[in-house]
Symmetry: C2
Subunit: 223 residues, 2 copies
DNA sequence: GTCTATACGTTGATAGAC
DNA sequence: GTCTATCAACGTATAGAC
């Protein structure tokens, strides 16, 4: 039961990073994620988001200006989460350990943030133009840096000479599948939801096949 | 410049599988695929489809009754295409040859029918309820049959004892990625589009890694 | 900062002339 | 079978009282 001073500042453009604003913005974004993950940008209505968060829809426009602004805020959150999760591989790492760790981290991301993954997937499927405006131009550079690590490992004879670019797509596709296609996985396997253990087994399986497929010996299984 | 008899039959409920009807329905479905692949079910408007196909939107309702009917027709086409493409693996096949052929077929599907793949992906991400109503209840049975083939190969010592269910998800996820995430792949790799050769190389790479990862020796490379 | 009322375009869908 | 005209519902967005 928090008591808040409603107007701490006479200037309405003053954005104090105040608790109310922060709290409301967070609640709106959370409700927006739910809708965007299910219906994409065009298919989502501000009205529904407002109802689900329990605020008049005018408030959504007050905080985020318009629908695109809210969508970009949601995407921005996702990209931030993404960056903070994957502190990436370096040439000096042991390939097997690093690759296994990366697969684990991606699977854990799919498990803990399936909605973020689905919003991202919908955006990319829809052409990714909004995302493209938000991503820095270094994105290609960053990607080539990641690929270069695999290339270096291959060149040093630490792993098979696999195409590093396609290896990354294999890692992305196979791990993301568990977040985006959950409904299909549940249907064909007769489950109502995917448990932590399901993700553990899926990760084990990916690590076993992909590492062996790259000529690497999996490290001792971690808990 | 085809000349058609406009009303070959006085009864308006008479559906002669006529050339006009067939031609119009096909054109509508084709335009609908474009929109559904980009915006999903909710995000797509009948108006836009009608404009793109060059017909009044009332005609769309005449042919498909309502938006859901059109969507189901589109999905139904995709499922049909899917079924006719994958005449599936059997226990008697040689594992390496069959698996390589399956990966090739899936990649070819991603290359030739990216829109079908994206519509399907959007539907599944959105919860897959429409799809679920259309799929027969034998779907689980069918899936278990596919998994049993891999299990039999493993039990016979023809390949490593990998979890057959997760192996299927690996195959689906890694191949579908090239259709659904084309925009991202183009962005990070600096291409404007994916060529036939790109798909060829991607397929080669998947076959090499996955087969080796399952303890199989890839068959002689086919053209 | 919040919320009611409302403007105004677009939506899916239909009626009815041709 | 085709197409124009139209409907009620819903879409985003804003004005303005509090």
């Amino acid at each position: 039961m928090t008591v808040e001073v409603l107007a701490h500042c006479a200037d309405p453009t003053c954005k104090p990073a105040g608790r109310i604003r922060q709290k409301n913005e967070d609640a709106i974004i959370k409700a927006a994620e739910e809708e965007f993950a299910r219906h994409g940008f065009k298919g989502t209505s501000m009205n529904t988001i407002a109802q689900n968060v329990g605020l008049p829809k005018a408030n959504l426009h007050y905080y985020f200006n318009n629908k695109l602004g809210l969508y970009q805020a949601v995407l921005s959150n996702i990209l931030e989460l993404w960056d903070s999760t994957f502190n990436n591989l370096t040439v000096d790492d042991d390939p097997a350990t690093a690759l296994a760790g990366y697969i684990r981290a991606k699977m854990e991301f799919s498990r803990r943030h399936p909605k973020a993954s689905r919003i991202y997937a919908m955006e990319v499927i829809s052409g990714g133009e909004t995302l493209s405006q938000m991503l820095s131009q270094d994105y290609q550079t960053w990607f080539r840096g990641r690929a270069a690590v695999f290339a270096a490992w291959s060149a040093a004879g630490k792993m098979d000479p696999v195409d590093p670019v396609h290896l990354i797509f294999l890692l992305w596709g196979s791990t993301q599948h568990y977040a985006d296609f959950t409904s299909q996985i549940c249907r064909v396997s007769g489950r109502s939801r995917l448990t932590k253990q399901d993700y553990q087994e899926a990760g084990d399986n990916l690590i076993r096949i992909i590492l062996k497929g790259c000529g690497l010996t999996p490290p001792a299984k971690d808990a």
